[in-house]
């Protein structure tokens, strides 16, 4: 029988029961690779539940540094009888099944093309512990010990991690170390050669950090100067607001007075949350709200107001599967259209698409600048895959000379000096008017903000011409936005290529890996990672210079492609969608297979050597 043999390159999946304490043990396991210098990317696949339902934790270990979901499973740690059959089925031929063999299972429960590794976990626990909760919790640490023994993870590394986890809680430290050792010893004695997956210290992690996108985005809001955060709990965005609270408590409390330089309001709903952010933005504070698709739906009336009344607003949408409550704990890129055109009437909004936690940080801070500069809602379009999983990412960077761009705010001095103020007057030709903050000047610069039609001086008007002038200026402002938002990133193929590929957001790591795999098959593709909407000229040039362009997305309806066709006027015949939308993160294997098949169907013969497909 085939036996998968691999060093520093494999996928291990844990099948657990939600609430059984597996999460912290699994995280410990994942981190141990990083400490051994091997890149790892774990993913939580969890139910909308607190206790009892199945949950999975997939750990990809890859010295080459591919961080996307690979697809396939080399070793399944099957700890959940509920999902046993499906879990066993998922293992790649030649792969491994690690399970608790305390109770014998009939042969029909196994496959003959996989290697079965049993360990009497329950038996060991029952013999060691009397308390039922202890039996459950330590079982997790014991299997981590056994895996460490089988794979060759350095025990000191895990002991160090356990030490960090239970720092100050000495009572828990010792029993955890003991449980770990118990598992380790069992594996060393009984399972030494059971598994062909091995780990060896490497030097491929470097300076990288391990952080969730939501935490990074929250930190971006702290660095970007947000003082007001209003939110309503919704998976997968809740941990973003909670991280903002955590970082602010640490970084934004005035040392001398003990007073907070931030305000966080958990609103009664998403309408109130966005309303609070808009009120703060109107009054000159940097404010944001974090939500997910259903929250966006609720906010749309307010988003229309902010667009038309021109109020700075940052909305972080940690996308999940929709519609309705959809797949609340699974990932998708399915709010692209909902956000791009959010609200009634003619509206268009600035969107930013971060690829990883590093860009979550950078774009969150930038979104606050853009919102002030453009006086409009700006959406940070992240998703569950980036937001709720720890990801290896470049260290966060900040330039201390960087100044917040507060946009065009007319001061009392300027008003006093007689500078003309028209709240909706385009004085600079960029479509962006000046605003004044409430309370600026005793007799100049006050205006009445409204969502109703007004003239350039903010006076109520029902004249069609005033309306047209105003919404045309908003279009001009949207043009200006193109010069300010992050440009797309081109990854050229090694040789001139006829095919192009457009992708964005969390698809990025799987896409990079797929590009290399495709190149290995002789299919060369130039890739362009879109980082924002409105689209810039680079995108049009890119599409124009390729015969066909794949658009890879994680939604059913090809939403970015729709936007390209609808808003950028790109000929749909030149675009081919590659869509993944079952709620799991897109994989390199999926992209590679889809594109290779389409390329073959287009009758292009791949040539390995010097010519492109």
């Amino acid at each position: 029988m085939k036996r998968i043999e691999s060093l520093n390159d494999f996928v291990i999946k844990f099948a657990n029961v939600n609430g059984s304490g597996s999460a912290s043990a699994n995280e410990l396991f994942a981190k141990s690779f990083l400490r051994m210098g091997i890149p790892v990317s774990p993913r939580n696949i969890f139910p909308s539940n607190i206790q009892g339902l199945p949950t999975w934790y997939e750990v990809r270990v890859d010295e080459k540094g591919w961080l996307g979901r690979r697809g396939g499973v080399d070793l399944m740690v099957a700890m959940n009888p509920q999902t046993w059959d499906a879990d066993v089925k998922e293992i790649d031929p030649g792969g491994y099944l690690f399970y608790d063999d305390t109770k014998a299972l009939p042969p029909s429960k196994f496959r003959d093309d996989i290697h079965v590794i049993g360990m009497p976990l329950t038996e060991i626990c029952n013999a060691t512990y009397t308390d039922s909760r202890e039996r459950q919790l330590f079982k997790n640490i014991i299997y981590v010990g056994a895996l460490a023994g089988m794979l060759g993870i350095e025990p000191e590394v895990i002991a160090e991690l356990i030490g960090e986890q239970y720092k100050g809680k000495e009572k828990l430290l010792k029993p955890n170390l003991n449980a770990f050792k118990m598992g380790l010893d069992h594996a060393r004695m009984h399972l030494k050669e059971a598994c062909g997956l091995k780990v060896k210290r490497a030097y491929a992690v470097g300076e990288k950090i391990f952080i969730e996108g939501n935490a990074a985005a929250a930190l971006g809001c702290v660095y970007g100067g947000a003082t007001v955060c209003a939110w309503y709990p919704i998976t997968p965005s809740s941990s973003l607001a909670e991280a903002f609270q955590r970082y602010c408590s640490r970084l934004r409390v005035d040392k001398e007075t003990g007073k907070n330089k931030f305000a966080i309001i958990q609103g009664e709903d998403e309408l109130a949350s966005v309303g609070i952010a808009i009120g703060a933005g109107w009054n000159g504070a940097r404010a944001f709200t974090a939500t997910s698709g259903p929250g966006i739906s609720l906010m749309t009336e307010f988003i229309g107001l902010a667009y038309f009344a021109e109020i700075p607003l940052t909305i972080i949408d940690v996308q999940r599967g929709g519609p309705s409550t959809g797949m609340p704990t699974r990932t998708q890129q399915a709010d692209v259209l909902a956000c791009a055109y959010a609200s009634h009437g003619d509206t268009k909004h600035v969107l930013l698409f971060p690829e990883d936690p590093n860009e979550c940080f950078e774009f969150a801070a930038q979104a606050l600048d853009l919102a002030d500069r453009l006086q409009t809602p700006v959406f940070l379009m992240t998703d569950l895959d980036i937001g709720m999983n720890q990801r290896l990412t470049a260290p966060l960077k900040w330039d201390d000379s960087r100044k917040y761009d507060r946009g065009k705010v007319m001061s009392a001095e300027e008003l006093e000096a007689g500078k003309e103020f028209g709240r909706y007057l385009d004085v600079d030709g960029d479509g962006i008017p000046y605003r004044t903050l409430p309370g600026t000047h005793p007799s100049k610069g006050a205006y009445f903000t409204r969502g109703t039609t007004k003239n350039a001086y903010a006076t109520y008007s029902e004249a069609g011409s005033d309306y047209v002038t105003n919404v045309q200026r908003l279009l001009k402002k949207f043009e200006t936005a193109k010069t300010l938002v992050p440009k797309p990133v081109l990854t050229p193929a090694k040789v001139p290529a006829r095919f192009g590929c457009i992708y964005y957001g969390s698809t990025s790591p799987a896409m990079s890996e797929a590009l290399e795999a495709l190149a290995g098959q002789g299919i060369f593709i130039n890739a362009l990672r879109v980082r924002s909407f409105p689209f810039q000229d680079e995108l049009f040039d890119f599409v124009a210079s390729h015969t066909k362009v794949f658009v890879v997305e994680q939604n059913r309806d090809a939403q970015l492609k729709t936007l390209l066709v609808n808003d950028a006027g790109i000929n749909p015949a030149s675009l081919i969608s590659v869509l993944h939308y079952d709620g799991t993160p897109i994989t390199a294997r999926f992209i590679t297979k889809e594109i290779a098949e389409i390329v073959a169907a287009l009758n292009v013969r791949p040539i390995k050597k010097d010519k492109a497909a």
Binding site: I211, V228, G275, R402, L437, H441, F448
Partner: protein, 351 residues
């Protein structure tokens, strides 16, 4: 009719306040509401109150929702910033604005459709949070701009202009504000300026969530026999539990009061309220009894007005959140950005 510009010339003998402003300096654009609308009387009362308090107009932010009442901030305090937000959501926008700059005075103007129907949720929660504001609800029991539908504050059994009888129970905004935690709660009548102006002044001075429900008859759709929000009905059934005088400070008191006739309440900001009781058994310091009293008298068809509840030592949202004294909108990189060095430390802890 905002295209009509009011003449800027003042009569030289117009009285001036401490800042040298006349009442005209507190006016706004010409009202576009119907002649005789109760809302215009409320605007006049607001102008009077701000003028008497010598508040610089530009230090006030006026926020409103949608509806006839919510149009009125355009008609007073023309040198203040105003924000006509979305229907029923003024409270959240006001909350955000207040967080951004704690140094301004926040005036929320809403109607009964805006606050008791679409905005009932936000109405309740802004009181819970204790946002420092004066929230004026211009209550006429009817949807004016959409021509005469009942609102949620219309009394059960009251009649619409075209004869339909309201069968639904009314939302009592005053009781609701009390339950939700407002620390200054009053009800008044647009036709009683002598009662309303001191109430507005005391509410502005109150450092917490201050709410005034002002019955404000709609002359176009709800001023007929059978309505319980008409001028005639409210005049006949107005049961004022007290009359009050407001003094910005103890030193400012210019009237001599005989002992035993008045109760004195000092607010957080040093202002003094002198309450002349008109109902001897009414105690505005007792929230639970106030609720019972209001309910009992409402059941008799009476409109209980006056200062219904006051918690003089109220704390506001900024106190709850322990925010810094400097307005958020004046904080820059120096105060807000933890800097590259700190980020290096954060990075190091994430390895």
């Amino acid at each position: 009719m905002t295209y009509v510009t009011k003449p800027r010339l003042h009569h030289p003998t117009l009285a001036k306040n401490r800042l040298g402003f006349t009442r005209r300096d507190y006016e706004g654009n010409v009202s576009t509401l119907c002649a005789g609308c109760g809302h215009d009387s409320i605007s006049a009362a607001l102008i009077q109150a701000f003028w008497e308090l010598s508040i610089e107009p530009h230090r006030v932010a006026k926020l409103s929702g949608i509806g006839c009442s919510s149009k009125t901030p355009d008609y007073f305090l023309g040198n203040s910033h105003g924000f006509n937000t979305v229907h029923g959501r003024m409270p959240s926008v006001l909350t955000g604005a207040n967080l951004a700059n704690r140094d301004l005075i926040y005036l929320g103007v809403s109607g009964d459709g805006d606050s008791a129907s679409i905005g009932l949720g936000q109405f309740g929660h802004v009181m819970r949070r204790g946002v420092n504001m004066t929230y004026i609800l211009e209550n006429n029991g009817v949807y004016g701009l959409t021509k005469g539908q009942f609102s949620a504050t219309a009394d059960k059994g009251s009649k619409a202009k075209r004869g339909q009888v309201n069968t639904e129970a009314p939302v009592d905004t005053v009781s609701l504000a009390l339950i939700m935690g407002a620390t200054f709660v009053a009800r008044s009548f647009s036709g009683d300026k002598h009662q309303l102006v001191p109430l507005v002044k005391a509410a502005i001075a109150h450092e917490g969530a201050a709410f005034i429900d002002v019955i404000s008859p709609c002359v176009a759709f709800n001023n007929h026999p059978g309505s319980t929000k008409s001028y005639d009905y409210v005049r006949e059934h107005n049961e004022a539990v007290n009359r009050l005088d407001f003094w910005p400070s103890r030193e400012a008191i210019t009237v001599e009061y005989k002992d035993g006739q008045v109760i004195e309440v000092a607010q957080h900001d040093g202002s003094i309220i002198k309450l002349r009781k008109t109902h001897p058994d009414y105690d505005p310091g007792d929230r639970t009894r106030a609720l019972t009293y209001i309910q009992q008298h409402q059941a008799l068809g009476e409109v209980v007005t006056g200062l219904l509840y006051l918690h003089p030592e109220a704390e506001d949202l900024h106190a709850h959140l322990n925010t810094c004294e400097v307005a958020f909108n004046r904080l820059g990189e120096k105060e807000l950005c933890p800097g590259a060095g700190m980020l290096e430390k954060i990075n190091a802890a994430l390895r």
